[in-house]
């Protein structure tokens, strides 16, 4: 069965979620991945949105992080201060989804500037909720297309922390969360090794190690247990296409 890169990434991200997880959700692919997981293997997934919505059951595809469909039928709504303190800082969030313009060898993310902070070449939107999510969620996942410019050896600005320069350095900072657990790309999956360095742990069907290496800005190591992901199933694709994103806003490949 044919599928787009976005569908492939969404399906693989959904499979990383566990039934009963409390997930801090963003719009776009993370939202689709969470809803897909809820429709398949994780019916008890609890979705929290940084806008202050808990237990959302969106009946239409949310197009912004504060879409009104998130509120109608949710279990609770609270202020932003409450969501970041009672839920995130207190340690009540299992999973956070992160994104950014650059992700480096140790999973640090730049969503702030390309170039110098004072004189930016490109000014990006900035942290939003990602700085604290990356620090305090138990597990973080990143969904992004696999391109060299997105995966430099070092980011220009650390908007949110991965493993800094090593797993030991993150641990020494005393932040509660476990850091990035996987980066899902259109070529495969990268996961941190014992030192916190992102290494290739899975390839999607038909993708070669060489393709992954060519599109990564550092010397990409390959796990001895590197495997091939199961292709998206007909039922996963049907849920995505018919129920979650019927007009293909996120799952058709635009970019």
């Amino acid at each position: 069965m044919e599928y787009s890169s976005s569908e492939l990434m969404t399906v693989n991200a959904a499979r990383l979620l566990r039934d009963g997880d409390t997930v801090f959700v963003g719009v776009g692919l993370p939202n689709l991945a969470c809803n897909l997981a809820r429709h398949t293997h994780a019916p008890n997934l609890l979705m929290i949105y940084e806008a202050g919505v808990i237990g959302a059951r969106p009946e239409r595809l949310p197009l912004s992080i504060g879409d009104p469909t998130l509120v109608s039928g949710a279990t609770a709504v609270c202020s932003m201060y409450d969501i970041f303190t009672l839920y995130l800082q207190r340690g009540n969030v299992d999973v956070g989804f992160l994104g950014g313009a650059q992700i480096d060898q140790f999973g640090n993310i730049n969503a702030t500037v390309i170039g110098d902070y004072q004189h930016p070449k490109v000014r990006l939107p900035g942290s939003g909720g990602s700085m604290e999510m990356a620090a305090w969620a138990n597990r973080c996942y990143i969904i992004t297309p696999h391109q060299t410019r997105r995966f430099p050896k070092k980011v220009d600005f650390r908007t949110s922390a991965g493993f800094l320069a090593s797993r030991a350095e993150r641990v020494s900072k005393g932040v509660r969360g476990g850091g990035p657990q996987a980066v899902v790309t259109d070529l495969g999956l990268m996961e941190p090794d014992e030192n916190g360095e992102l290494i290739l742990t899975s390839l999607h069907p038909g993708i070669s190690v060489d393709q992954a290496r060519k599109n990564t800005g550092w010397e990409l190591k390959v796990s001895p247990r590197c495997n091939v992901t199961e292709p998206p199933t007909a039922s996963e694709l049907q849920i995505l296409r018919d129920e979650l994103d019927p007009t293909g806003i996120y799952i058709k490949d635009g970019k």
């Binding site: 912004s64 070449k121 490109v122 650390r158 005393g174």
Partner: protein
């Protein structure tokens, strides 16, 4: 005592050149009508504070109202960049003070609580702490561990749009609550715009829903549809198409000026703006009812 007034009067009296303004609302209830009125009255040198500047601050920056931005996310939500703010920053034409959402909201929480600063746990992402000297670290006197602190933010004016308020300013909000309560308590002056002005009895029938008490409010204005292209939960939907359209409009100076001429300077108020949007748009933004179950407060 009634605090009812018109929006143009409220802006004239309470918003001055050089003020720090916090127009509240996370995606929901963004007070666009008040922003447009500030542009019409040609306020200058404002310090614009908002977690998510959104299109309204992009427009106010384009109109020359701002000298500085305090923010935590300068994107066009779900679309991409705020082109005007982005280019002003890239060309060094506007001063910025940047936070994460949590530290931005914490500043308001401190301001609203009468505290000088507020602590937060470390995040291990230290580049922004270094870039913005307002971030400091202190030692937790109980454990000896370092915590990150940010100072209180006390804006001169908070502007909050609400579903309903009475003439005294008692204001009720439902749906996404964002940082409205904190902004109102942190500010020196508070302007409320409301979809509906209701009798005090309506407010008193459901006191748990009151987010902002009238005694901290300075002006109450009845401004239906004040949040478009943002939305008011239960009243009208978000105009997602306009958020995409703004990305095109704001590509050129000409596009921006034409927009401001047609939709801000060329109109007297929000009522004219809503009329101009037309019946097709009104139909598109209409939402179906979905009522909550009533609660029983009990008669004591």
């Amino acid at each position: 005592m009634t605090k009812l007034t018109t929006l143009s009067k409220a802006i004239e009296v309470h918003v001055h050149d050089g003020d720090t303004i916090y127009a509240a609302g996370f995606t929901h209830l963004i007070p666009y009508a008040a922003g447009h009125e500030i542009i019409r009255q040609k306020r200058k040198d404002l310090i614009l504070a908002r977690a998510t500047p959104d299109l309204i601050y992009d427009q106010m920056v384009a109109a020359g109202c701002a000298q500085k931005l305090i923010f935590s996310y300068i994107g066009n939500p779900g679309v991409g960049s705020l082109r005007i703010i982005r280019s002003e920053i890239e060309s060094g034409h506007i001063e910025i003070e940047e936070y994460s959402h949590f530290s931005m909201i914490s500043r308001l929480q401190a301001g609203a609580s009468g505290l000088p600063f507020i602590p937060m746990n470390q995040t291990a992402a230290e580049d922004l702490e270094h870039a913005n000297p307002q971030y400091k670290r202190i030692k937790d006197p109980y454990t000896g561990q370092e915590v990150v602190v940010v100072p209180a933010l006390n804006p001169d004016v908070a502007i909050v749009h609400v579903q309903r308020a009475d003439q005294n300013g008692n204001s009720q909000i439902w749906g996404i609550l964002g940082e409205q309560k904190e902004a109102a308590f942190a500010a020196d002056r508070v302007i409320i715009t409301a979809e509906e002005i209701v009798d005090e009895d309506i407010i008193r029938s459901d006191p748990n829903r009151t987010l902002i008490p009238g005694f901290i409010v300075d002006a109450v204005c009845q401004v239906p549809y004040a949040a478009h292209p943002s939305y008011t939960q239960g009243y009208y939907d978000r105009d997602n198409a306009f958020y995409l359209e703004w990305d095109k409009i704001s590509e050129t100076k000409e596009g921006i000026n034409n927009y401001l001429d047609e939709w801000v300077y060329g109109l007297p108020d929000r009522q004219a703006y809503w009329q101009k949007l037309g019946t097709e748009m009104h139909k598109r933004l209409k939402v179906k009812d979905r009522f909550s179950a009533p609660v029983n407060y009990g008669a004591y």
